[in-house]
């Protein structure tokens, strides 16, 4: 049915950023994402008055997915953040806050967009080339001979999501589980081209977090009724498995587009069932121990198989098919006729396990890279948040394998970068001015806007009204409690910087983060001893953060470049 109405003309608005409405909605979004950021971030509760579950979260993925955005400029921003999260899982709030800050700061300056965009791009390339360079002091190469750095990375990700509701002990437990699950997916004899396996997260809600576990192989959930029918498993050191992707329910598969003329008294169902029994006989004669089917197995065939001591499990679903075929080494069988013996696979052991109130059928493989992460949490919302966090952590570990570096977390990377950029543009502005054809003042203004965007990003880690300081040697992030009497000599107070790399034992001079300071060259070239000494660091995924930085600056440039908005109101 085509539309009968003629299309309404669109609404065209020029300068979408200058209006009061735009500023207000940008500020609202910024306040929202800033308050969620970091381990001390506040939680948001999303609920729809018309129904659906209530989501309690502080993660950008869940937050932005449920948040309706009406302003077109914000649509661009949130879409960029969501796409970033879909790619890297981590760093969504970082990207969102930085982008909001940049747009706001630059908007306040009122410079020509051309200059702003050119210089922002230049500053970005300054940042990325520094972060990628060898003498970057906020990047740590990952030492795969110990688990320390990887564990710190996972811990940092877990602690930055307060909506998971974990206590310190649980954080330790879950982070070791995640790391174990990840290590199980790495093939043992790796060639130059590593294909990682998969960790399947199995939900178990309403249990204690401590009950979570990692198991090699696959867990297939079975109901109690099904369980009754499965016979006690005989002891053996290997089980032969057949995996079907066609339905074994005995229905007639597609018979073509023509018509079938069936004579009276001819029962096609019986014919199909006969065919199934033939198949069953073949399976039995091939000494198959376990029959798995993606779809449904006909009850008669099930009965037949049971009488021949073959275990049959059906309705597995398409999502488990690929891991199953990998674990067992089978080809999914798509034929009801003769089966080639080469399509059978095997597992090392089978058992029935009970976790909480659920029964699982556990397939233990000989040697594969598939494992199951049995994840427990007290309630649904917390479980959802924990699951998302685990996926983020696993993804971050995968990215770290690809690019074996981590960045210092806890705001230290940001403050360090700020110090570096300030110093660089103050001391070597000639190249920029020559290449980009802009004045010294413009460069100073934009640099200040860029740096204060990064600083305010770091500052949003502090939610309890504390003060933020930065030292003038490393350019790291130090947080002190609020409401201290001014008489106290506060530089003595912070014990460790945001990432935990440096302690206040050293002779350092501090200043307030957003105060006017003289630019100083931050110490580059991270020493190996420094990273080795500290045992618990706060770390960020390198790839995700780098890409987040790029996406934030690019999106901000895009938004600042808008001259008008055409809204289609149909």
């Amino acid at each position: 049915m085509s539309r009968l109405e003629a299309k309404k003309p669109s609404i065209c608005r020029s300068d979408p950023l200058t209006g009061e409405r735009a500023r207000a909605s940008l500020a609202a979004l910024k306040g929202l994402v800033m308050s969620c950021y970091g381990p001390a971030g506040r939680l948001k509760q999303l609920h729809n008055g018309r129904g659906g579950s209530v989501v309690t979260t502080s993660q950008s993925a869940a937050l932005l997915a449920g948040l309706p955005v009406s302003h077109p400029v914000l649509k661009v921003l949130t879409a960029a953040v969501r796409n970033h999260v879909a790619c890297f899982s981590d760093g969504g709030l970082f990207t969102a806050i930085l982008c909001c800050n940049l747009v706001e700061n630059v908007q306040r300056l009122g410079l020509a967009p051309t200059t702003v965009i050119k210089l922002n791009k230049h500053l970005l390339s300054l940042c990325t080339s520094y972060l990628k360079s060898e003498d970057c002091a906020c990047r740590i190469p990952v030492d795969f001979s110990s688990t320390q750095i990887l564990l710190s990375l996972v811990r940092s990700i877990l602690t930055s999501k307060p909506a998971c509701m974990l206590i310190a002990k649980e954080v330790d437990h879950i982070s070791t589980l995640i790391l174990r699950a990840f290590l199980l997916t790495i093939p043992e004899n790796a060639q130059e081209h590593i294909i990682l396996g998969k960790s399947i997260i199995v939900p178990l809600k309403g249990q204690r977090v401590i009950d979570s576990a990692v198991l090699p192989g696959i867990l297939i959930e079975v109901s109690e009724v099904q369980l009754m029918k499965i016979l006690p498993i005989k002891k053996s050191d290997s089980f032969k498995v057949a995996l079907f992707c066609v339905s074994l329910s005995g229905d007639l598969s597609d018979t073509g587009e023509g018509t079938l003329l069936v004579s009276y008294g001819v029962s096609l169902e019986n014919a199909a069932l006969d065919q199934l029994f033939n198949l069953g006989k073949q399976l039995v004669s091939d000494h198959v121990d376990l029959v798995l089917c993606q779809k449904v197995i006909h009850p008669s065939l099930k009965q037949f198989l049971r009488t021949h001591h073959v275990i049959a499990v059906d309705r597995i679903g398409v999502s488990l098919m690929e891991p199953l075929s990998k674990v067992t080494g089978t080809w999914p069988i798509g034929s009801l006729g003769s089966i080639s013996p080469s399509s059978y696979g095997s597992v090392k052991d089978l058992c029935i396990a009970k976790f909480g109130c659920k029964h699982f059928f556990h397939l233990i493989p000989n040697k594969t890279t598939i494992c199951s992460l049995l994840l427990c949490n007290r309630n649904d919302t917390a479980w959802d948040e924990l699951k998302l966090t685990c996926q983020t952590a696993l993804h971050a570990l995968q990215l770290t394998i690809k690019d074996p570096y981590v960045l210092l977390g806890g705001g230290c990377t940001e403050t360090h970068l700020v110090a570096y950029i300030r110093h660089k543009t103050r001391n070597e502005p000639e190249s920029v001015l020559r290449d980009e054809r802009c004045s010294q003042t413009e460069l100073q203004l934009i640099t200040e806007a860029f740096c204060s965007a990064l600083e305010s990003l770091a500052g949003s880690l502090e939610h309890d009204g504390g003060e933020i300081l930065t030292d003038s040697k490393y350019g790291h992030f130090w947080s002190v409690q609020a409401n201290l009497p001014s008489a106290v000599n506060w530089p003595d107070l912070p014990s460790r910087c945001g990432c935990g790399l440096y302690s206040s034992q050293e002779e350092l001079s501090w200043s307030f983060l957003r105060s006017a300071r003289h630019p100083f060259p931050p110490q580059t070239c991270l020493s190996r001893e420094a990273t080795g000494s500290a045992d618990t660091l706060t770390l960020d995924c390198f790839t995700a953060k780098l890409s987040g930085l790029q996406v934030a600056v690019e999106t901000a440039s895009l938004i600042l470049d808008l001259s008008c908005v055409i809204e289609d109101t149909n």
Partner: protein, 721 residues
Amino acid sequence: MAAAGSVTVALHVAEVLETIVSGCLGPEGRQVLCTKPTGEVLLSRDGGCLLKALHLEHPVARVMVACVSSHLRKTGDGAKTFIIFLCHLLRGLREITDKEKDSFLFENIQTCGRHWKNCCRWKFISQAFLTFQTQILDYVMDHYLSRHFLSIFSSCTKERTLCRSSLEMLLGAYFCGRVGRNNHSLMSQLMCDYVFKCTACESRFEEVLELVDDCFVELKVGVTGLPVSDSRIIAGLVLQRDFSVYCPADGDIRIVIVTETIQPLFSISGSEFPLNSEAQFQTSQFWITERTKAIVKHLQNQNVKLLLSTVKQPDLVIYCAGLNGISVVECLSSEELSLIQRVIGLAPFVLPEASSQYELSHTALAKFCKPLILRSKRFVHLGLMSTCSFAPHCIALCAPVQGLVEQHENALHGAFKMLRQAFKDLDLNCVTQTSDQSCTSGPCIYKNSRESNELPKIVNSSIQRSYQDTVVKNKGELAKTQTNLKVCSNLIVPSVKLEQNVLCSTPKVAVTDSYQTDETLRCSSPNKGRIMDDHEPFIESNSANSKPENTRREISYENLQVAKLARKDSILPLRYKSLETCTSQSYYSSSIPAGCVLPVGGNFEILLHYYLLNYAKKCQQSEQTMVSRIIANAILGVPKILYKSKKGNYSFPQVYVRALQALQTNQPMISNQTGLESVAGKYQLLTSVLQCLTNILTVDLVISIKRQPQEVYDQDSEEEL
């Protein structure tokens, strides 16, 4: 609606559109955000896109949008310039009509009698524009502008080869107007690399451009969530779906394409399959299974490793293929299939009627075939061995948001269209007439200056020569000149041209007529004797023509050769030194050669402006002068906007004055911008705008119909039935 208002109304509309569009023009242009009713956002700097997104209701605006989109379909570029130019033209028209309400076009008053109407006046103006577009524009392009053209091809050899640096400049200038300003250089670099990587054989790049333009949708992969700088070129073909079965294989991979299911069906549509017993059902199923297995086995025996299917294959086929080590990709779209067929020249595999003794003739080879993971999505990555001039490559376009990916896709697609146009020879139509005009206007002016009486002799001698020509030849030309005559008479061109055309066709008439010409010329001899420089080259050319005792055919043959040489001669800059002599003889086809470019930054506009004004000064008829002036002034609107933000030495008046000085002293124009634009594109834009303008001007009444458009559609379909 009164016709008098139509220019004013059209101007209002065009001005509104201009304000939207001019913000996106040129390297300083900004982006526009379009939201769709579905909630998606699209970023765009593409004029055509914006105009469509506006969903305009005004009838005049809709005419304009329709004209723009038809222009875009042809050339892929220039929508914004279109609107701006149109707006300036309308502005110029209104100024003139405001100033001199009825002082011009006295002939029109005569033709229309005492009570001429506005619509009549507009009709004449629009006709004047049409005359300009079909005759004067081509003449000016050919005679004056062409000496400034540069060529994009690098060498002067017969084979046209692409010059990388000039291609980069051309693309750079294009992307400056189409994508966000921090991505210009990246995109043009990407596209340039792409063109060179895809071109297997240097001289056949045109085929490559054609193929890429046709199949662009299949040759790009959009990836959201990554920074734009991660965009890259992928060697081989990427199909936007996953393998149904993937069996790793080394070495060269044989490919087979199927367009139907390999498993035989129980019954085909329109037929009946009687089942009489259960055993029959089972045997037929058994037969189907066995047959499928046999076919797949046969494919394996022929060493086929990859099966590309346009339809979904049953589970059984997938299973058998997997067992036999054949990878399967299902559900290829017809566009993908046609692309693959164009690249490897492979016809679909026809299922053998009899079993297996069947040699596979339709196979092709691929270097590799593997899954490709982009942003955790899996794609099929094929390294096809191309049998044509196109070496398959794909572009992965990355951007933070989908809207930006789409913008880049559109810009790239438009760029391929633009390149295709730029590398085509563009025939300047009606050049024969215009060159005749040049002949006549030459003597015309010459005579006016009252310097000598040689001219009639020359004219006479040429008449005599043409008298000596064979009659056969004249007959051949007769048809053409008659059409010319028709055109000329329609357009109310003064008699001089008419007669000159006749002069070519039949000598007898020509002799008598030419006397008349002389007389008319004498009668109408204007008092200005200003064009003093022009007679020297004219005498030269004419004497050159009359000197040898050649027949005219030979001369024109020579001219053809000259033209050909000039076309092949692609040294930068490409000049038409011999143009004067060429065009003084009548029949040869003139064209803008393929790959003609000019530097960006309003060079074309200023050049055309300058020569049109010059032409207007020389021109006798008031309409033509007026039209040329209007167009010459209107065309400056585009560079004015381009230079709006520049200050000091780079401001528009400065640039303009410098360019004019350079032109007057015959020095090369210096452009401070690096970048080139295609002349053909500019020329086509100009003609499209003029056609649009005549469209708007000739309408005298807009009838609004309140009926549902659906009904009209229904009526149409009934008629078809």
